[in-house]
Each structure stands twice: as structure tokens, then as C-alpha cells.
């Protein structure tokens, strides 16, 4: 009995020592990224080349990331928020300026994706992935090509339409349909968008999150609002699907790499960002994730089919009316109120 207890205690001690990572004074960086948003092999390659251990963690939403960064208690060296969240973090001094001279691969990035509204001088962020929001539909169930957000209000498609269960994205659909900016700060316009969405509700199948992919691929509903990256994956699975960027214009979104102000190891963070922007590595990630890379040389390494896909890499004209989300700042509570009114309406 005594021996057993001793053995158990020894095990406990051993486990906690191993688990707290007493692996010597090896250099480490802490990377915090979206779940399933990197080719895991890339991390091994980075460790091999730079001798820096990557401590990797994942989050589910921009808001989770924001809370973790605000709450303190742990510090990250590289995080990958989306556009509007980067804007907010810059405003709240949560980020460190990146010395772009250390990012030798910076020039490989397409100019179209630099100096955007969320980071006007491009001094805080290096884009990682981008994409659009559009309509995916099943050509065997919808007998005419869809071209605009307005089509989602067509009663012909009663019970076939899936909207995103996401505040900004869904309000943007209605605002764009009405011809307003998706970054409007006019409460009147937002309320018009709300009424529009409430009037659409009787013909909507459901407001869904990630499950939308299963429902559309399985043919349970015909039409859905989705992100381009997901659209690629769905069309791969079901060839009857078609993705369209509506004529009224849509949201162009970015996830970009930034360094938090309290980073412990900013030099290695810059090395990591540089590494991730290297065309071969960016291509590996784009291939694994299925979203669009902002590095043209990386795109050239992908399958022809993906390179030429208007879904993943739309032409300039198709992107003409697009807007990037801005942080609503002080009217964020108005957004919340309006969204609650939409979701609770019968």
C-alpha cells in the first residue's frame, strides 16, 4: 500500500515536471491562431529552420482572442485577428509596430492587400488569408442563375435560404441590398436593414453557423450566404454548387498576422511572420486551409483549378464594389440591439 502511494506521488511529480515543459532554456514563441487554420507541418518546418519552439494555441472568434489579450495573464507573440479587430486593437494600443525591414518577404504580398483601412500605413499587420462573402446555390434546385443579394428576398425560394448566424455579415447583406455602406454609422439605415431582414424571415430556412456546410452539401436547402473559403470546400464535395459574388458588392475580409504589444519575443515573432509569408509556406497553408492567399507567387504553386477559380481568386472587376469591415466603435451597442431585434422577431 505504502509503495503504491509512493509510486503514485512520484508519477504526479514527474507528470507535472514534464508537463510544465522543463525542456531547458530553448527559445520559444507563443502563437495564437484560429482553429484548424494552418498546415501543422509548417510549425515543424519553422522549428527545424530557426531552432525556436512554437507554442501553439487556437481560438474560435475574434472576440475570444480580444478577451484573452485584454485579460492579460498570458502573452502571445503572434496572433491572427480579422480586419475590424486589428483596427480596434491598434486603437487600444494592444499591438506593436512591426519593423517591415525584417520581413524580407513583405514585398511578395499583392499591393491590393496592403494599406487597407484597418491599418492605413500597414505598420502593424501582414495579411495571412483573405476572402469574400457571397451566395452559394445548388444549380439542380434553383432554376435560374442568382446574381444579387436581392435574390435572397425572392419568395420563389421559400424555405430554401440559409442566412449566416453572424451579426456583421448578415446586416451587411441587407445594407448592401439597400445600397448602403456595410460600415454605415447611420442608425436609420441600420434599422431599415433590420426591417428588411425581418421581412425576409418567413422564407428563410434558418440562421446557421458552421452547420450550413453540411446542410448545403447534403442538399437539404438550396441557397446560403457563405464565406468564399467554405464555398471552395463545399463545391469540391458537391459539383452542383455554384458561388457568386453579388452585384451590389460584398464584404472583403482579411485575417492578418500581428504582434501584441506585450509580446515576449518580438524578434522571433517577426521571423515567424516572415516565414509564413514565404511563397512555398504560404502555398502549403493555402492548400491546407482552402482560403485565399495574398501572396501571388504562392497562388502560382497551387493547382491550376484553384488558381483559375473565380471563387478563391476573383478578378479585379468582381471585387470592385467590395468593402472591408470597420470597427463600429461607439455604436457597437446599437448593432447588438438591432441584431437582437432581428433574431427574436417571429
Amino acid at each position: 500500500m505504502k509503495n503504491k502511494i509512493l509510486i503514485m506521488l512520484a508519477m504526479v511529480l514527474l507528470l507535472s515536471v514534464v508537463a510544465t515543459g522543463c525542456g531547458g532554456n530553448e527559445e520559444t514563441i507563443n502563437v495564437y491562431n484560429w482553429g484548424d487554420y494552418i498546415d501543422p507541418e509548417v510549425l515543424d518546418l519553422f522549428e527545424e529552420e530557426y531552432g525556436v519552439r512554437v507554442v501553439y494555441d487556437t481560438y474560435a472568434t475574434n472576440e475570444d482572442l480580444y478577451v484573452k489579450m485584454k485579460q492579460g495573464g498570458s502573452s502571445y507573440d503572434v496572433v491572427i485577428p480579422s480586419d475590424y479587430m486589428i483596427e480596434r486593437m491598434i486603437r487600444e494600443d494592444l499591438l506593436m509596430e512591426i519593423n517591415m525591414d525584417n520581413i524580407s518577404m513583405f514585398e511578395k504580398i499583392d499591393d491590393r492587400f496592403l494599406n487597407l483601412d484597418y491599418d492605413p500605413d500597414n505598420s502593424y499587420s501582414v495579411p495571412y488569408m483573405w476572402g469574400t462573402v457571397g451566395i452559394i446555390y445548388n444549380t439542380t434546385m434553383v432554376d435560374r442563375p442568382l446574381t444579387s443579394w436581392g435574390d435572397l428576398w425572392d419568395e420563389e425560394f421559400e424555405g430554401e435560404i440559409i442566412m449566416l448566424n453572424s451579426q456583421r455579415d448578415t446586416l451587411a447583406v441587407a445594407l448592401k441590398k439597400l445600397g448602403y455602406s456595410m460600415n454605415t454609422r447611420d442608425i436609420g439605415e441600420l434599422e431599415e436593414a433590420r426591417d428588411e431582414l425581418i421581412s425576409q424571415k418567413p422564407i428563410v430556412y434558418a440562421y446557421l453557423g458552421d452547420e450550413v456546410k453540411d446542410v448545403i452539401v447534403g442538399g437539404e436547402a438550396a441557397i446560403a450566404v457563405v464565406w468564399s473559403g467554405d464555398a471552395m470546400a463545399m463545391m469540391d464535395e458537391n459539383p452542383d454548387l455554384e458561388y457568386v459574388i453579388p452585384s451590389e458588392g460584398t464584404n472583403l475580409w482579411f485575417d492578418a498576422m500581428v504582434i501584441p504589444a506585450n509580446a515576449q519575443n518580438p524578434e522571433a515573432a517577426e521571423q515567424f511572420i516572415d516565414f509564413m509569408t514565404r511563397p512555398e509556406i504560404a502555398a502549403m497553408n493555402a492548400d491546407y486551409i482552402g482560403y485565399s492567399s495574398p501572396v501571388p507567387e504562392a497562388v502560382e504553386m497551387l493547382d491550376e483549378e484553384i488558381q483559375n477559380s473565380p471563387v478563391a481568386y476573383p478578378s479585379e472587376e468582381m471585387l470592385e464594389n467590395t468593402e472591408v469591415f470597420k470597427d463600429p466603435q461607439d455604436i457597437i451597442s446599437e448593432y447588438d440591439r438591432i441584431w437582437t431585434e432581428i433574431t427574436s422577431a417571429q
Binding site: G21, G35, P40, T58, T61, G73, S75, G209, D230, E237
Partner: protein, 263 residues
């Protein structure tokens, strides 16, 4: 006759309700498609990917490291506490018992935020240690509650008799009391183990960089959809659990037989 069939049907429905989700999950871990509800052929590639994905393996390692350590520590603490509470009398016992109940009834989110605030105040670095402390905290009351009934069932004079026969209190505790309440200790330990593996809310608020358990990892996949490697992982975990259960049952059957033969 009808009655019996009805009973069978009822039992069948209950079990179908309990196990259908797990069976579906196991089936889809062999599906060649990344999507559920769409069968496109048999594959083992999710299992292969599972073992190649260093992040999943790391997360699994932390999940079990935390579960094993926290369940052992909380079982020891809980056993000592239960024996202590059992020895108390009157109002003291009542109030301590109620204090033990409170964390069980308290919503997880309250415990989570409270622990987070405490760790921040103590200026602890969030990570393995904070996560471990949090898991021990929420497990101990359950261990105490699963051991107390065993102590109540035990003959009060057993320990006294042992000491009359010359055993020191410590010896009586080890050789008489602990073996008597062993089933309760094991139940408590297993409960603490599963609670730890299960927990999301408290872990989410009390962990730091580099340390995630399985539930946090799966939750973070929400944006891109749950990767089917998670189905494969859950299948393996379920199967090992079933195997463990079979082994335990088998052993207790054997030991029962041995006891009967001795008699």
C-alpha cells in the same frame, strides 16, 4: 406478453437514444468527406492524419496529464476531507457539508470567473499550474460526496476494534478504514477524471498560452468546422473506455469468485 414487448421496446429506445450519436460519430470517422450527412466512401485517412497532427497529440497529452494529476490529487484531498467530515458532529458537520455542496451547485461559469480573478490577483502565470489547480478545485467536492456514503455504511466500531487489538490510529486507517471505503474512493477518482476531461468552461478561463485541453481545441474549430480527425479521436477514446470498463468488470468478477471459493 404485450407488456413484456413494450418493456423491451422502451429499453431499446432508451439505449438507442443514448448511443445513436456515438454510433453516428464512429461511422463518420470513416467517411471520406469532410462534411457530415454526406457519405462518399470508406477511408482511414482521418486516423492517419490524427497521428501526424502534432497539435492534436499535444492537446491530448495535456488533457490526460491534467485529468490524471488532478484526479489523483483531488482523490487524496477528498478522501482525507471525507474522513474528517465524517468524524464531525452537529452544526459543524452540517455547515461543512453545505460548504462542500455549494461548489457542486454553483454554475461553472461563476467558478471559472472567480478562479480567474483569484489567479490574477495572486499574479500566477496562466498555464498548466492554474489549469491543474482549477481542476482540483472543482473535483474535490465530488470526491467527498462519493466517499461519504461509504463511510456511513461502515461499522462505526471497526476502527475502534482494530485499535483495541493494538493497531496505531494510522495503521487502523490504512488497513481498516481505507479498504472499507475503497469502492467510494475509486468512484470518486473516476468521477474526477471524467469531470476533468469533460470540462470546457472553467478550463477556458483558467488556461494560458500553450496549454489547451481537448474541449478548448475542438471549440476553437467552430469557424472552419470540426475536422473529422476529431471524430477519429473520439472514436478511439470511446473504444479505449469500453475496453477499460470490460477489463475492470472482468477483474471484479474474478475477485468475487475467489472470495466465494475461499468461503
Amino acid at each position: 406478453m404485450v407488456n413484456r414487448n413494450l418493456k423491451r421496446l422502451y429499453t431499446f429506445l432508451i439505449f438507442a437514444f443514448l448511443y445513436a450519436p456515438i454510433i453516428i460519430l464512429i461511422i463518420y470517422s470513416f467517411n471520406d468527406s469532410k462534411f457530415r450527412g454526406d457519405w462518399s466512401g470508406f477511408t482511414l485517412r482521418w486516423y492517419a492524419e490524427l497521428f501526424r497532427d502534432r497539435e492534436v497529440i499535444r492537446v491530448l497529452y495535456y488533457t490526460f496529464a491534467i485529468a490524471i494529476t488532478s484526479s489523483i490529487i483531488s482523490t487524496v484531498l477528498g478522501t482525507v476531507a471525507a474522513i474528517g467530515i465524517h468524524g464531525m458532529r452537529g452544526i459543524t458537520k452540517k455547515s461543512v457539508l453545505n460548504l462542500n455542496y455549494l461548489p457542486v451547485l454553483n454554475p461553472d461559469i461563476v467558478t471559472a470567473v472567480a478562479l480567474m480573478a483569484l489567479f490574477r490577483m495572486a499574479r500566477l502565470q496562466f498555464g498548466f499550474i492554474t489549469l491543474l489547480l482549477a481542476h482540483i478545485t472543482f473535483s474535490v467536492p465530488y470526491v467527498v460526496l462519493s466517499i461519504l456514503p461509504k463511510l456511513k455504511q461502515m461499522n462505526v466500531h471497526l476502527a475502534e476494534a482494530a485499535m483495541d487489538l493494538g493497531a496505531t490510529p494510522m495503521y487502523a486507517l490504512r488497513k481498516v478504514v481505507i479498504p472499507e471505503i475503497m469502492p467510494g474512493i475509486i468512484t470518486g477518482g473516476l468521477l474526477a477524471f471524467t469531470l476533468s476531461i469533460d470540462d470546457f468552461v472553467i478550463s477556458f478561463f483558467t488556461t494560458g498560452h500553450g496549454i489547451s485541453n481537448l474541449s478548448i481545441y475542438i471549440y476553437s474549430m467552430a469557424r472552419k468546422g470540426i475536422n473529422p480527425t476529431i471524430n477519429a479521436l473520439s472514436t478511439l477514446m470511446f473504444i479505449s473506455l469500453v475496453a477499460l470498463l470490460l477489463i475492470i468488470n472482468n477483474r471484479s468478477e474474478k475477485s468475487k469468485k475467489i472470495i466465494q471459493e475461499r468461503r
